[in-house]
Amino acid sequence: MKYLIVLSMLVGSLFAQNGLTDVAPVNNQLYIKECGSCHFAYQPGLLPASSWNKIMSNLANHYNNDASISPANLQTLTKYLNDNSAEKNMQYKRSNKIVSSLASGQIPDSISTTPYIARKHSEIKKSLISQPEVKGLFNCIACHKTADKGLYGERDINIPHYGKWED
């Protein structure tokens, strides 16, 4: 019994109070394959649909890389991103904060340039972000060790050559 209680506390501590992760985890294998082969497979709930549509309409020039995919996959993945975008996931803490931080009509080009995410990372030394183990703010999982589970809390941060981060 004691064991069960400890276990449930442990599991509970992984999640926010409403029992949800920070953002809804990725649950699409095609997305993981097509997008996750070059970079961290960002949860769709990290950007509004307007941003995803902007990104997906120009994959031949994707942050100065050619990331073009087949028309069929483009359609499937654009739909997945739209169906699961941040403003449709406001019950998730970070999706909510990202959407709430946007100015009216703002369509950010990337997750790291949304006001909330930019602010959350503003105190980190530039050299820690550009170091080879990280390379840029786009590499969530380099420091957020549980980012792939949709968990971005402070307890799971470990910055290479720095360690734990405390606000």
């Binding site: 070059c38 100065n64 995919i69 390379k135």
Partner: protein, 134 residues
């Protein structure tokens, strides 16, 4: 064990079939571009793979910037740090088993490294180089 062997055999067969067929179609295309075309060449492919060019990002890179020089080992995306599975089909039997996938990456990566798409000759040469490596 039997299943494993069978899977390995099937993957192997499908690799040989798929890539030979694709190389053959590239050969037809190369012949159209140059009637004197004889055969794809691993040596020319190596030059394509290892030489540096001004890429799409405005930075001098080669294919080896991400794939490394030992194709039996994993590489790392030079821009995102994401791990890339080995390119050699001997080390990674999933490679070159799907023409659409092969074409997708050739198009993207020629654009990324050369800032243009590859010709049939270049694509055939570079594949010939990659599959010739251990």
């Amino acid at each position: 064990m039997k299943i494993l062997l069978l899977t390995a055999l099937l993957l192997n067969l499908s690799f040989a079939g798929v890539i030979d067929e694709y190389l053959n179609s590239l050969k037809q295309e190369a012949l159209k571009e140059n009637p004197n075309f004889k055969a794809f060449d691993a040596k020319r492919g190596e030059e394509i793979f290892t030489s540096k060019h001004m890429g799409k990002k405005g930075k001098e890179i080669s294919c080896t910037s991400c794939h490394g020089t030992d194709l039996s080992k994993s590489g790392e995306n030079v821009f995102t740090a994401k791990t890339i599975e080995p390119l050699s089909p001997k080390a990674n039997p999933k490679r070159f088993t799907d023409v659409a996938e092969t074409e997708k990456w050739l198009k993207r990566n020629f654009n990324d490294v050369y800032n243009r798409e590859g010709t049939a000759l270049e694509k055939g040469d570079v594949i010939t180089y990659i599959i010739s490596k251990d």
